[in-house]
Amino acid sequence: MSGLFQLLGLGSGSLAAAQYAQATAGNNVANAATPGFSRRRVTLVEAPPIRLPVGAVGTGVLAAGLARLREGLLDTQWRLDSEDLQFASARARVLEQVGALFGPADTTALGTALNRFFDALGDLAGRPEDLSVRAVVLTEAQAVASAFGLLRDQVESVEQDVSATVADRVAEVNGLSARIAALNGDLTLHPDDASLADERDRLIDRLAELIGVRAATREDGTVQVLVNGTGIQLVDGLRAAVVSTSGTPIGGAVSLAIDGMTLGEVGGEIGGLLSLRNSTTEGLPWALDRIDEMARGLIAGVNREHASGSGLALASSWTATEIVTDPAAALDTAGLWHLPVAGTLALGVFDGAGTMVSSSSVAIDPATMSLDDLAAALDALPDLSASVTGGRLVLSTANPAHRLAFGQDSSDILVALGINGLFTGTDAHTLAASPALLASPSLVATARADLTAGRVSPGDASAASAMAALRASTFLGSGQTPAQFLGTLGGDIGAAARSAAGRVETLETVVRVVDEQRQAISGVNVDEELAEMVRYQRAYEASARFIRTVDDMIGALMDIL
């Protein structure tokens, strides 16, 4: 009798096993689309047999546990490749965004503004006497200034976006680390909990995408997460490190630190963003530098021609726009934005009727001469007075009714100090049309004063022609015209964006292949699960039938009683 009841136990055991298996298959189907889910299988083992004289008789089946189908090696591979993919993809996004600021090629705001500015200068060369043409030149100069300002602002706002995104992603990293540490704790208590293990793996995957990590499983079942390439721990057992960012949204560099230790170059999305945020050879600071370099070159180039020119009217006094912080220091070392060279500056003083009163010149050696020395030397010239006020050179005629004209300036001192320039400013932000000229367009220099014959002719357009000719002159950067400089800048950024996009495409394929391999092991195939369900349904039905048969057998025995 006891043997028969044992058979009932066997039957109910196999019913339970089929139920477990069915539940597992159902759970697999339910999670077919859950990210990071690893399919599971009930591990069925034969229950320990009873040793009888006839031999070892089986006692049924046992659901020994749930196997989580996952391959650690593929996880590692996927994380390495995803780190690279996210690195390249973040770069491609940002570079494309910056590149778009320079396109479309034929109508870039700055390119158009520059072309119209040079057109206006060409018109001025044809009609130097015409005040309306002068006004147009100044308007176009303002348009150039605002195009430079806009471009720089736009690149800066990308830089700001990147800094903000880095901060967001770092916060995400910290959240992930804390959760992984917590899961480490939970998993030491419930080592067999497949869903907790899945969750932890999913979080580590995300960390790999964000910053690039390596995970190592300890004997106690916890994982240790290291930032790839640094050996610095993000998570160790129950402890999660906190990553902090330092730096300003715009300018300087943004850096990462973990518990006070500086993180060098990291990977993943954060690494990609930081590489562009900080690099002065290819990133956003580089682009901003190039824009500033172009603005500086344009200011110097245009002002060099303008400073030694004269307008329809002459001013009696000029105040430098650039401040020299130490007027007693040699001009070479006084921190000027544009370095003057050894040379001479010629000046002429005219009376109200346009007759020259006197002409003179001063030799300038920036290595030995300070701003104070320069002011003294100019002050000593006939009919001129010069002083330094608040770091600015003020140069005027001794007689207020007289007018001042500049001749040849081979020292570039007027450009450096910001005197008689068409533009003021020293970079893309500060570049502006000279307020003095805007207030009085007849001061726009078109002619070259003839200090030998003592006249300034209204019909002379040599200075205007020289400025107009800058369009085709290779005076920017390492010998480039403005269009070449602008084209190369946009082209360089475009090329970087293109190569990053190419890398993204390659890595997407690599990651997809690894992911497919990973899915081949861990992923859920609904059809497969359905087949499993049918199998266990049948097994369940058979077990039920077995129980009924045993019941019948017991009934037959009962009938005998």
């Binding site: 320079f102 090629a105 964006a497 497969e528």
Partner: protein
């Protein structure tokens, strides 16, 4: 062993194929809609740089052509002036020839003297001819009247001098890269230097005074200087003609250069619509095929067959 294909990866692949199809379609569609091959510098970095350079060249050429036409109109303004001076001096020569005739009496010569005075006034008036803002004969001193005259109490011109600041300053205008053209004609090349004995106003003053004094010899003495004055006009005419011809040639060259640069720009920038339309068709087909394939692969499950 064949690889396990899972439902998620099937779905993923189908979505990926659709995404790729859509990206390609959107790109081609964008190029066709804007007519531009270059949508962003990364589409063709070298092309982007070339396009900016070419656009600057087109603009520079257009501006040079504008300046060349300005030079043309500036030089053209001298036509009427030179014509008028020629007529004045021609008439003065006729009068001088008649006045030098010994048979002419004082009354006739007096009348001729009056006509020469009108001619002199006419000549002085021509020197203040202006083109827009500029005195044509003022050299670089374009805003000051080039000729200053002294009159006696009767209002008759007794002497004339050029603007002491000079009337011969050349006004140069660049009409092509490195090609500058003088767009003005100096006062003294038309009427002579005011220190010259053949200074046109002075010769007319002499003629007028000789006729007024009925001095036949003195009238005859003006014939030679008058001829020199008239011959001198050939110089500026020829110079202006030469420069105008140079400008014509420059304009033609600029035209060629502009169309060349525009063609190059268009080759870099513009989309080949025909080719793109074909590409769009192909991409559409690929996209539709991927949709069909996805529909087939995703739909069926074992469930439908378990009845």
């Amino acid at each position: 062993m064949t690889m396990r294909v899972t439902s998620a990866s099937l779905m993923h692949q189908a979505l990926e194929a659709m995404r790729r199809g859509q990206v390609a379609l959107a790109r081609t569609q964008g190029q066709i809609a804007t007519g531009r091959r270059l949508q962003s510098p990364s589409d063709d970095p070298a092309g982007h740089a070339a396009a900016i350079r070419l656009q600057a060249r087109v603009d520079a050429t257009v501006q040079f052509a504008r300046q060349a036409r300005q030079a043309q109109s500036d030089l053209g303004a001298y036509d009427a002036l030179l014509e008028r001076v020629t007529q004045v001096l021609g008439r003065a020569q006729e009068i001088a020839v008649i006045g030098a005739d010994a048979s002419k009496g004082p009354a006739e010569r007096q009348a001729m003297s009056l006509e020469v005075d009108h001619l002199l006034e006419d000549l002085v008036a021509t020197t203040s001819a202006r083109n827009d803002l500029r005195y044509l004969l003022g050299g670089q001193e374009t805003l000051a009247p080039p000729l200053q005259v002294t009159r006696d109490p009767g209002g008759r011109i007794t002497a004339a001098t050029w603007n002491p600041a000079g009337v011969d300053g050349a006004i140069m205008l660049e009409v092509a890269e490195g090609v500058s053209v003088q767009t003005n004609i100096g006062g003294s090349s038309v009427l002579g230097a005011d220190t010259d004995p053949t200074f046109a106003p002075q010769v007319l003053i002499d003629l007028r005074d000789a006729l007024a004094a009925s001095d036949g010899e003195a009238v005859r003495a003006t014939l030679e200087p008058l001829a020199t004055v008239a011959r001198r006009l050939a110089g500026p005419r020829a110079a202006a003609g030469g420069r105008l011809a140079l400008i014509e040639r420059t304009l033609a060259a600029l035209d060629t250069e502009e169309s060349g640069a525009r063609a190059a720009l268009s080759a870099v920038l513009d989309a080949d619509i025909g080719r793109l339309a074909t590409e769009l068709n192909q991409q559409e087909m690929v996209y539709q095929a991927s949709l069909h394939a996805a529909a087939r692969a995703i739909q069926p499950t074992l469930l439908e067959f378990l009845r």
